[in-house]
Amino acid sequence: MNVITDKLQVEDNKWIGTRTVRPDGADKVTGRAAYAADNTMPGMIWGKVLRSPHAHARILSIDTSKAEALPGVKAVVTAKDIVEFPLDKSVMLGIQDMRWMCRNVMAREKALFHGHPVAAVAAINEEVAAAACALIEVQYEPLPHVIEIEDAIRPDAPILHDFLKFQDKPSNISATMTAKLGDVEAGFAQADVVIERTFRTRPVHQGYIEPQACTVSYAADGRATIWSSSQGQFMVRAMTSLLTGVPQSHIKAIPAEIGGGFGAKTIIYLEPLALILSKKSGRPVKMVMSRDEVMRATGPTSGSFSTVKIGAKKDGTIVAAQGTFYIQAGCLPGGPLRGPVGCAFAPYDIPHVLSVGYEVVSNRSKVAAYRAPGAPLGAYAAECVLDEIAEKLGMDRLEIRLKNSAKPGTKAAYGATFGKVTFEETIEAVQNHEHTKAPLDRNPRPGVKRGRGVASGFWYNAGGESSAQLNISEDGNVLVTTGHPDVGGSRASIANVTAELLGIDHGRVSVQIGDTASIGFSNLTGGSRVTFASAMVVTQSAEKVIGQLKERAAKIWKIDPEAVTWENGEARPAGPNAGQFPPLSLKELAAKANEMGGPIGAGVQLNTTGADPGFATHVVDVEVDVDLGIVRVLRYTAAQDVGRALHPSYVEGQIQGGVVQGIGWALSEEYLYDKQGRLDNAGFLDYRMPVCSDVPMIEPLMLEIPNPKHPQGVRGVGEAPIVPPLAAIANAVYDALGTRFYSLPMSPPKILEGLDAAG
């Protein structure tokens, strides 16, 4: 469903807002799409990683001699081959600190989690590489390990890193962040109702289908080519350069088709290892992770331990909100603190806010970004407490959100002062939707209870660096190149925008993702920035090209370029010359390009700004089997301000995908460790992501309220939809059972225990 609540000049749009055939569709459904593991080269050999069998151990020695002596082995790497970034000086690439990345791709002083790379081998085939890994002799001194947050912050906890200090003592708390507004103590003093609750969530994996993979060829001239699947070929180039010492200018990173990333492919694992193996062996080296390795050693996102306190007046006005969020970073610093700290209370206009985050290291794989990193953790706690406040006040759950909604000019605790705020629209869309009004049969059968819940969410969205190049081919068609891997349909959206702006048939536009040598720097695909940013640079490139086309026509007609208009894919004489000459089409101008001044094309590179935040409000119905403890989602409606849906199918897909990932987070997904600190469910069988039959059709309510700071009105849409589901489902389970659950996932044993405890 599509609700346009603000007028954008959309009536005349021929391509923007339509469901054109996706440019990558045919390749994907016929199996032709070339993902990272599909690349192969003459002389190519295979790399494999040896991983730590311990959750925490000092590495005393590594003897690779037997592995190197095995016939077929061509190269071995260990941490000494990776550039070391000393612990006392931070070197940042975006939000990643190379001190931690160099220790994440290869264990240095210590192995910090079960699965931490300790060495890597390249050999003539995978079997020999695996056999060689088994011949590497590593002497470990096993150390006490710690997995859970509460254990890691205890005074007697094993310390992962002596150099990390909190309050002047070695600690596993690796960072803190505070967002503050007013004076919460004074705020709570004014409240009629105050509710404080503690919540726990487990780490969850991004669950992309395509495992990390790459091929790296380091040639005799010292130049390297990387084929890999990532959320940013420029990140791959820069990070590999930093970790190997090969200059960026000597590395070409070619983005493969990507089979999902959800944030996790904004960092690298294999590329530096493969590059060094290739350099040592003189052969192209391919590395492909198994699912087991993906689950053990990449991602996931943080688990959390949070306390949220909200105070409100009798009329429902929220006067104060306080949050303390402990989140896991994994084995090295760098967790998404700004997600819970900044987003938890951001949808609301609250005078007194104190939001404090603590990042905690423990013996798990280092976390990676996951869709709205950290924001679902904060929203889970805040939106559940808000539900309890509404209940206590006897207020409607949506009404209390509407009453406290942020407004233009509201200052958020994280620092921003909002311009346009579209939160109220999402609440009203849910209020007015048939789902909210439909009666709920609370006891359809004996032993079955149903409930309904709502929750809202906020995500910052982002702009940042993007580059585009738009070239007119000799036969008068259009090739657009951008620098972002397409994980969410950016090629389809860009094709729609380009066809619209040039006034030509969509089929004449091709969109491709350039490698690092063929397009200007473009930042990561992440933070819901790419369609926003690349539509901006493509629009400006198209405007430049149209300017060139008008100049060419003016030259041919010998009139002033100002007196030429571009309409419907052709140049027309205008003003006093209107009708004097027959129009010149793109094809005709392309055919005359060389005699009239040369090839036609233009590019634009920008650090884009104006990506306003995204808001979402969700309503969900659940059904609980009270004898087995199984929770099923029956119906789900997700309202979100999407700015302008350039390609509605993709926007719907983003909303539906975010919700489904949220459902898994709420009900069934979790990392399980055994007593030795080994991951016990490293695969899709026991790491339970929802399957198709677990989820109903998610109904997206796309509210098209154009972002005034974007030429097409685009707003990021990919993150906001994963923010509300955790709380919406928890609130619905409460509505069904009358028992509140403060820990995720709400798995069947937990539901039965909770019901027992409640009597």
């Binding site: 004898d627 403890g629 199984i630 099923r632 026991d686 339970r688 929802p690 399957v691 677990d694 069947p748």
Partner: protein, 289 residues
């Protein structure tokens, strides 16, 4: 690298002699949906693979003169579903076999593989045990028949003698008033391994249970025939008290482990819940017949 010899004999005798000759280095291949997974994970590295799908007796469903059925050990789940009469007589066995995996897996997976893989959570096994299936085995020592519940020996282990192959399952003709059912608890709706599985087979006359067999999966090292649960139902009209007694017998039969798929407390409790639900479905089927 290790070589694997692949054999696809056309007779049972050839299969048995090739299997026995390899002396433990060989593995039988039916659908391969367990075997190939184990080989890819590096858990198994057989030197010889004996594919039994070319042997007629192992891949057919035979109607027996008395109205019963003999199901070849390597018949696929999909072939069982397509059989015109089998599912009408044994809907519980069929639904258990058809719960295995997905559409793709159904095209391959067999009840013989499900049993011989030796998983305590194998879905078709409790249904077969409740149904009172008898299996035919053939080995270097010849043929023998044993009740299906005597095959599992523990996780990943069976009582089959060296060189012995499971040939078929025999299910008797159904008397009037008979019905069976299988239900499992999985956290998701599909593509999951049973946390508890329950098979119930009832015969009812005038609303009274005249024969009852109950089996549980995933609650002990092997699938269990719960005789006390059957007894608790016998002679009753499946009143609440009878069902509660049978549920209690099921709980008492549980010797589960705490693992990533379920806790001891949860599995034990769910065994009782599933007994009641499965018995209700079986009774409905029995009384419809």
């Amino acid at each position: 690298m290790t070589d694997v010899r692949y054999l696809a004999p056309r007779t049972l005798e050839e299969a048995v002699s090739a299997f026995a000759a390899a002396q433990g280095a060989a593995r039988i291949l039916a659908g391969g949906t367990d075997l190939l997974v184990q080989m890819r994970n590096g858990i198994l590295k057989p030197g010889v693979i004996v594919d039994i799908k070319k042997i007629a007796e192992m891949t057919e469903i035979a109607d027996l003169p008395d109205g019963g059925f003999r199901i070849g050990a390597a018949v696929s789940g999909a072939a069982m579903a397509e059989h015109p009469r089998f599912g009408k007589a044994w809907p519980g066995v069929l639904e258990a076999v058809n719960l295995i995996g997905s559409k793709q897996v159904q095209g391959r997976c067999s009840p013989g593989g499900n049993l011989c893989h030796g998983s305590p959570a194998a879905d078709s096994v409790p249904a077969m045990v409740a149904a009172g299936a008898v299996v035919t085995l053939q080995g270097p020592q010849g043929r023998r028949e044993i009740p299906v519940e005597q095959v599992p020996a523990g996780p990943g282990r069976t009582t089959l003698a060296p060189g012995e192959i499971l040939v078929s399952f025999t299910l008797t003709a159904r008397p009037a008033g008979a019905g069976d059912a299988y239900l499992r608890m999985i956290p998701r709706t599909e593509m999951d391994i049973a946390v508890v599985g329950c098979g119930v087979n009832l015969t009812m006359q005038g609303g009274i249970v005249t024969a009852a067999r109950v089996a549980l999966g995933a609650v002990a090292p092997t699938v269990r025939l719960v005789e006390d649960a059957g007894k608790a139902l016998l002679g009753t009209r499946l009143e609440d008290a009878a069902l509660e007694a049978a549920a209690a017998a099921c709980r008492a039969a549980c010797k589960p482990i705490d693992d990533k798929r379920g806790t001891i407390a949860y599995r034990t409790r769910v065994a009782g819940v599933l007994l009641k639900r499965t018995a209700a479905v079986a009774a409905q089927r029995a009384q419809g017949n």
